[in-house]
């Protein structure tokens, strides 16, 4: 069902131009005041498109702007934060130009979300069922019992046999894994076209994580929903996504088909990220390659590549000129000295 491009070379780059993407983000730039008179540049000129039916994974270390990106897409950046520039077009409609009321109609119905901290996404003292009914009735004029029936069906669908009992509990009585699966069910209630999942498995046990990832994968197939999944774990992202977007310090540094990004990264940062996760048969005492230094302070970014000071391949140009995100051999990458150009 899913258009699954062959795990081949630079499939992303071959994408036909005429096909309208489900979501197109262009030049999105978001900032927050840093409390010291300056501004934190959380997103800087971020552009990417998502075709319907695809699963896009966004990876990046903590603070690289992944969550801000999702919030900016949904129009959930509140003052004093501002979306300074850029456009988000969903199904041909510009979300950045839409009124709050129009956005509210889209949120939860056409675009739904799953968040990192499941406990925080529900009111801990209100029964799950009531919150489910509320979610339904925010977009549809249906009776409570009808809404409840719908919710029950969906909760059963994500793998709970005792859905009715679950609906009568309050979130604080449940474990995070259970709540997260309920939230996934809730995200599906209006048959959304796009699901934004922000670190949906972080802080969960590996076994639970596997269940959640499995649920997401199944949904994608059964409901043919487009998914954007955010994680700092390359392993998680690689499992479910068709494409991977790598972020660093508020910018996209690389974007390509999963296989391309994983096997032929063009950006030194992407490669470092992949290498720092152990692979192969490792035993006690195996040393891992590391990235020296720490991510930069987003309120003090000057021109140039933000990764330059940690990059082994950096040249003078990297410090003075911001590299644009342009097609390389296999992926889109923002690098003056991509690895493909350097000797293997």
């Amino acid at each position: 069902m899913t258009a699954q491009p062959a795990a081949g070379t630079g499939a992303l780059l071959d994408r036909p131009r005429e096909r309208d993407p489900l979501l197109a983000v262009t030049g999105l730039t978001t900032s927050f005041p840093d409390g010291d008179g300056g501004r934190v540049q959380a997103l800087d000129d971020v552009s990417f498109t998502v075709q319907a039916g695809r699963t896009v994974g966004i990876v990046g270390e903590s603070g690289s702007g992944k969550s801000v990106l999702l919030r900016s897409i949904l129009g959930l950046i509140d003052p004093p934060g501002v979306v300074e520039r850029g456009d988000v077009v969903f199904e041909g409609v510009s979300l950045t130009q839409s009124s709050e009321a129009a956005l509210r109609r889209i949120r939860g119905r056409d675009i739904s979300t799953v968040f990192q901290n499941p406990a925080g996404a529900l009111n801990p003292v209100v029964k799950v069922g009531d919150q489910f009914v509320e979610a339904v009735r925010l977009h549809e004029r249906v009776s409570r019992p009808a809404a409840y029936e719908r919710a029950l069906a969906l909760v059963t669908d994500v793998g709970f046999d005792d859905a009715a009992a679950l609906m009568a509990t309050r979130p604080y009585e449940l474990s995070s894994g259970v709540v997260q699966r309920i939230l996934i069910a809730m995200a599906l209630v209006h048959g959304p076209k796009l699901i934004l999942a922000d670190e949906p498995t972080t802080n969960l046990d590996v076994t639970v994580e596997a269940q959640i990832l499995d649920a997401i994968a199944r949904i994608q197939v059964e409901y043919s929903t487009t998914v954007i999944i955010v994680s700092h774990d390359m392993g998680v992202v690689s499992q479910v996504s068709d494409e991977i977007v790598v972020m660093y310090a508020g910018r996209i540094v690389e974007h390509g088909e999963t296989a391309d990004v994983l096997t032929r990264p063009a950006h030194p940062y992407t490669r470092a990220l992949i290498e720092s996760v152990p692979t192969g048969r490792i035993t006690a005492g195996t040393r891992l390659p590391t990235i020296p230094g720490t991510p930069p302070d987003l309120s003090r970014l000057g021109p140039g590549c933000a990764f330059a000071e940690r990059c082994a391949y950096a040249t003078d140009r990297c410090v003075t000129q911001t590299p644009p995100l342009v097609p390389g051999t296999h992926t889109l990458r923002a690098c003056h000295n991509p690895l493909e150009a350097v000797a293997p």
């Binding site: 409390g35 008179g37 720490t294 930069p296 302070d297 003090r300 000057g302």
Partner: protein, 296 residues
């Protein structure tokens, strides 16, 4: 592979040439909220009135001279006028304000000491000790403050000490409770466990870690309480049981003057305004600090 983290200290990092570094005072100024700055302004002004004016005074604040009674504000030599027996109102209000500030300040300080002692012990050791101490604070809290104050002050000679004591009684349970709950949370905090793993004993943990940790959140509480106590103290003065007549505080000055509200408004209105300003300034600072704490 030694990561040189030192160069990344944000304050010294010269990263970028975007904005020129401003003077530290200017940067401090820009970081503060308008609320806080207004508060500081009002507090500074009242503090200047309380502590500076008497230094510049040409005469003793208590100088009684019925011959010049009831002079309205802006009279010759009496900026704020004189009161019903010819005392200079500016000096008198300054005196009263200083008394109010000192009394409520020392009451808060005393309350913090008691609260810390009770709260730390109760929160850290728990069990029966905690139960007893907390019931004690409950008892104190259940006692209607004004009844207690009126009772004590109508018996003990009104003086700065007795007033301070009374005001302290009004607030210490709140501190004990706050300290106890922060200590209860904190004593199981990871870093405290960390100290114990290193071999640190109870006293060390209490003194070096729990005490400062309990103190920090009290700062805002203390500021707000200071304002509340000035108000309490003014109330007591108003009921005529405040500070002694030869060293009046704002409340009693106001109470003395309130009967002239229609004939010589300034005698009560000016101390009223000063009381209000002092409380307002401190509250502004308190609320602004609370807001800032909340954000971080």
């Amino acid at each position: 592979m030694t990561a040189d983290v030192g160069t990344r200290a944000p304050a010294t990092s010269p990263a970028g040439t975007t904005a020129p570094r401003r003077h530290p005072v200017v940067r401090w100024w820009r970081r503060q909220s308008a609320l806080l700055l207004t508060g500081y302004g009002v507090v500074l002004a009242t503090a200047a009135l309380a502590f500076l004016v008497p230094l510049l005074a040409p005469e003793d604040a208590g100088r009684v001279d019925p011959g010049r009674a009831y002079l309205p504000p802006l009279s010759d030599g009496h900026l704020l006028g004189t009161d019903q027996i010819g005392r200079d109102l500016l000096l008198r209000v300054a005196d009263g304000l200083r008394a109010s500030l000192l009394i409520s300040g020392s009451a808060v300080a005393a309350a913090i000491c008691i609260g810390l002692l009770v709260g730390l012990v109760a929160g850290y050791y728990g069990g029966a000790v905690e139960t007893v101490l907390m019931r004690l604070t409950d008892v104190q809290m259940a006692l209607p403050f004004i009844v207690l104050a009126v009772m004590i002050l109508s018996i003990a000679e009104p003086s700065y000490v007795s007033l301070t004591l009374v005001l302290c009684l009004a607030v210490w349970p709140a501190y004990a409770r706050a300290v106890r709950s922060s200590t209860r949370l904190e004593k199981d905090a990871n870093y405290v466990q960390g100290i114990k793993i290193l071999g640190g004993g109870n006293l060390r943990v209490l003194r070096k870690y729990l005490l400062p940790a309990a103190l920090a959140p009290l700062a805002v509480l203390a500021v707000l309480d200071m304002a509340a106590l000035i108000l309490f103290e003014a109330t007591l003065g108003f009921l005529g049981i405040g500070s002694p007549p030869d060293s009046p505080s704002l409340g009693s000055i106001m109470a003395d003057g309130k009967q002239f509200i229609t004939s010589a408004w300034w005698i009560s209105v000016i101390p009223g305004l000063v009381t209000f300003a002092a409380i307002l300034g401190i509250n502004l600072v308190g609320v602004a600090l609370r807001e800032r704490k909340g954000q971080s």
